[in-house]
Symmetry: C2
């Protein structure tokens, strides 16, 4: 199974290690963006996260969570479950304009 993309190292589709390429590799994997999105309201347990993501397989969820933890975007808090780190919240904030845009996209497209 493909390893977690890391800045400075080659990723799927690019050998430069440029941060944007690493990010595109990470976010281009199925469920990754969705998981970050579902954590927007606060921590969720592994199983709650599964349900929020329409019951994706635990295999993939665990793989994605490993990648997101390796990337410093998500952390496992024993008391509350999985949550966005400050870095992950920054990513979510940068992503919010896309959410607002998608509403207009739906009306026009």
């Amino acid at each position: 199974m493909a390893r977690s993309p890391r800045t400075g190292s080659a990723v799927r589709g690019s050998r430069t290690g440029r941060p944007i390429m690493v990010l595109l590799d990470l976010l281009g994997r199925r469920w990754t963006l969705r998981i970050v999105w579902e954590l927007r309201g606060g921590p969720l347990t592994f199983r709650a996260l599964r349900e929020a993501c329409d019951g994706l397989s635990p295999t993939v969820l665990n793989t994605r969570l490993k990648e997101l933890r390796d990337s410093g975007l998500v952390a496992l808090n024993e008391a509350e479950g999985y949550a966005l780190t400050p870095l992950g919240q920054e990513l979510l904030e940068r992503f919010l304009p896309l959410v607002e845009w998608s509403e207009r996209w739906a009306r026009r497209g």
Copy 2:
């Protein structure tokens, strides 16, 4: 092969048809974000786009381009090649903060 995600219809991983879910499905497919990114500087031909994306297979490139055209984000201009539509440029603009963020992410993560 999975059909292009459309707002208002069920997509992979969500039956609600909410625009954000449709967008997450679309962007969560491999190479989709990369293709939009590589078109940031202007139109590219099919083959130039392949090279820009580190030689991804023409099968997948064509599939992604169909999806992006169905979504109204990319158009084929016979004279110049594939280019972002105004809608696609809006998406790219909303995505730019993530690029800037990825630079800091690389330093911290």
